[in-house]
Amino acid sequence: MTAIEKQGLRGPVSCAIRLEKINKSFGAVRANADVDLEVEAGEIHAIVGENGAGKSTLMSILYGFYSADSGRIFVADSEVQISDSKTAISLGIGMVHQHFMLVENFTVLENIVLGAEGSWSLGDSLRTARRKLQEISDTYGLSVDLDTLTSDLPVGLQQRVEILKALYRGARILILDEPTGVLTPQEVDQLFAILRTLREQGVSVLLITHKLQEVIAISDRVSVMRAGRMVATLNTAQTNREELAELMVGRKVLLRVDKRPAVAGDTLLAVNNLSWRDDAGVMRLDDVSFDLKAGEIVGVAGVSGNGQTELLRVLSGMLDIQQGSIAVDGVLVDSDHQLTPKAVRHLGVGHVAEDRHRDGMVGAFEAQETAIMGFQDEAEFNSSGFLNRTAINQHCVRLMEEFDVRPVSPTLKSAGFSGGNQQKLVIAREMAPKPKILLVGQPTRGVDIGAIEFIHQQIVALRDSGSAVLVVSVELEEILSLCDRILVMSEGRIVGDVAAAETDARSLGLMMSISRSGEQQEARR
């Protein structure tokens, strides 16, 4: 095991939180093994690690969701027992979850007060709260209109409400779990400005993330976890992304996708004036047109929920076309000529669904059953009315070996594989028939760094063999490094079409926030 590296260790007096030899096992799995962590008062401390490295378990122990099997916790130098989140809050620990815990039809004020009313009379509580919140926003420069309905706020402001909630409860130590996953680059900048103000006011921030560029941008120190152990704590200024990635994975990792310039060929997929409304009448796709050529990877960038999901679903035949048309390798599909997902597949279109748990696999199915999803009717897998288990098994083993899915056990339930291995199996399945067009949604969501590298290489290899690839991702870094051409979507429209080599995250972010009126949304302060 790697020796724990400690740098910048100051006197124990300045410690906001100290964890000593925390151990936690779930059955035979050691989620945390002898984990030490020190967070100083007024620092932004990032914790990075792959999925399952034990970050969430550690934070859950700190916030009182789990109790550690052994180990000691010190808050402001006195040892404490954190048995539930109530205790954690009273010790000044606040948590902002990845998925916000807000009541949508409450106002901001009501949401903040919820659970901390302090009086039987709601009117009184709200008045007191309003005064107190005024002080807080003056101190930390955090302002939100307290009387807006939460559902009317953009995501970035909802997150600010969550931070206010924690501060209102007296948090001096703030845990943020993957806070930037749903934000535009501009919103991320604003969040970071807030975090810096918090730091100036002496609040300690614990930032759980897997985005290394953000760690470098904002944190003072960074702790790396791997396989339940704390493998290093470093001063951010003295490290870099490559080193962090290597520490996380335990081997050298290539962060940039290594690929030759694209050689675009014939148009394989032509989308013309595609529009699609959902049941509520909301325009999810608004006059979308673009071409996808053989030998190129086109990325669709955008904040999630701006029509990317619907685009993939319409293109793959899961949703019927309402207006406009698409031409798949010369075959016209429009509202009078619909194609089922099966027919689309037969035209040589592979589809890696955005959300593998919702669409791409069935957790309760054996891996080999997941491995034939969409191909269950093929003659290859059927013989005289019955599924050919031998052929299916062999097919699955082949996919698993080619795409390095571990363990190679086709009869294991799909849910029993790690996220990265599930995704590799899904991608292997969709790439196996050598599709002419591959639609990929969130190619590396919930996938470890090591597997990301592999998945990207496979996608590039498919491109180089002459296929056209459409990638939808909320990770701008991924789009920028993987794709040859980038379409930017906002509110169902394509608002930008640029070559990947000629743009950067900033300008993409600006395009992503273009609203329907054609103006950029002014982030409310």
């Binding site: 779930f26 059955g27 035979a28 799995v29 793959s316 899961m318 089922t340 997902p341 099966k342 027919a343 597949r345 589809h351 669904a353 919702r358 669409d359 791409g360 696999m361 069935v362 957790g363 309760a364 199915f365 059953e369 999803m373 969409g374 269950q376 009717d377 897998f381 059927n382 009315g385 019955f386 599924l387 288990r389 029993g416």
Partner: protein, 370 residues
């Protein structure tokens, strides 16, 4: 072991049900003790009543046959994520199909020629009765639980009307059809045994128990070895993934309901063509509902369903014996005992899981330490 404290398969499929049945009997024993009888005596009577002599065994297996059919019916629907409460009505209407075919053809052919036609008729009629709720669920959004319950009442009313006004044997008061001609109804088991020279007591047990076992095997094939079963299980687990895989969930809902109904319809082979030899009022007698408990306890797997059916068959037959032997234990109390079994084996099936998992984890740990 790589992940968490998982139970070995044998503990999951055998140990847990065994513990649950034991708990159910302990609870039932308390009830029996409370009314002042000796629980051990009651158990003895129950077991002897169900398995102790050839007549008891015959009745136990006769009930078992019905429960296998309805249990399979519930299970197939359940794999598609549908809760078919309508086995009762589907079996009843299945009886109409079987009855009509038998009454029309019984003078033309022997039972072994008639049997496949009657099976087809029972399945088609049962399927038709389940098709309507299935269609309404898939294309009109009416919940299948509600509609199948309603269809039980409609089936019941329809059959009363038909039996009283149309199908009734002329010149009598009882609302039932004429008997199916001798030689055309399914041979009872004692008749078959008599042919090979073994004498057993007459019971309603007939050839259809073999139909039930065959149906169990075919259901297993269907669910786990064909692409229709694949599709049925997929819509049950994840409808969105089914759409992604090119499966039409609406169509599969209707198909699954129809298959489910056709299995329930087979109850009529046991009752109408076998035990009764005619259509009588209310011949299903709650088998459709018991099938829900059977499927629940049998984990929707044909092998589990056969075993659970046997348990419930024994409870029905042994329970009847119990009510007969003890004046204090009434028919209703027997229903209470059956209810306890359903409660522990069905509703509380996962109650013992967590403590057992912990036990196994500790056991594994202590073995590692050594």
């Amino acid at each position: 072991m790589s992940k968490g404290a998982k139970l070995p398969v044998w503990a999951d499929v055998a140990l847990i049900p065994l513990i649950n049945v034991t708990l159910a009997f302990l609870a039932a024993g308390v009830v029996v003790a409370l009314i002042g009888e000796n629980p051990l005596d009651a158990v003895e009577v129950l077991v002897r009543g169900a398995f102790g002599y050839d007549e008891g065994v015959g009745y136990t297996l006769y009930y078992t046959t019905n429960f296998i059919f309805t249990g399979l019916a519930v299970a197939v629907a359940f794999h598609a994520g549908l809760f078919n409460i309508g086995g009762e009505g589907q079996a009843y209407i299945g009886g109409l199909g079987v009855g009509l075919v038998c009454l029309a053809l019984d003078h033309l052919m022997p039972w072994w020629m008639l049997l496949p036609i009657a099976i087809a008729a029972g399945m088609i009629f049962g399927a038709a009765w389940a098709f309507i709720p299935g269609y309404l669920q898939a294309y009109r959004g009416s919940h299948v639980v509600i509609t199948t319950i309603m269809f039980n009442f409609i089936a019941s009313a329809l059959m009363v009307y038909l039996l009283v006004n149309v199908l009734i044997k002329p010149g009598q008061m009882a609302p039932e059809t004429r008997d199916i001609a001798e030689g055309a109804s399914l041979p009872l088991m004692h008749e078959l045994f008599a042919q090979v020279g073994i004498k057993i007591t007459q019971t309603p047990l007939n050839l259809s128990i073999f139909v039930a076992l065959l149906a169990s095997f075919l259901v297993w094939l269907l669910i786990w070895r064909t692409r229709w079963g694949y599709a049925i299980r997929m819509i049950g687990h994840n409808e969105s993934a089914a759409v992604y895989s090119g499966i039409n969930p609406k169509k599969m809902v209707v198909v699954a309901m129809a298959i489910s109904g056709s299995l329930a319809g087979l109850v009529a082979i046991n009752e109408v063509m076998g035990a009764q030899g005619r259509i009588v009022l209310d011949f299903v007698a709650g088998s459709g509902f018991t099938g829900i408990a059977v499927a629940l306890m049998g984990r929707n797997h044909p092998v589990g369903i056969i075993l659970a059916s046997l348990l419930f068959g024994a409870l029905f037959q042994g329970g009847a014996e119990l009510a007969f032997e003890f004046s204090t234990i009434t028919r209703d109390l027997v229903v209470v005992i059956q209810g306890l079994v359903i409660l522990f084996c069905g509703a509380l099936a996962y109650m013992m899981r967590t403590p057992l998992e912990r036990l196994f984890a500790r056991f594994a740990k202590s073995r590692e330490a050594n």
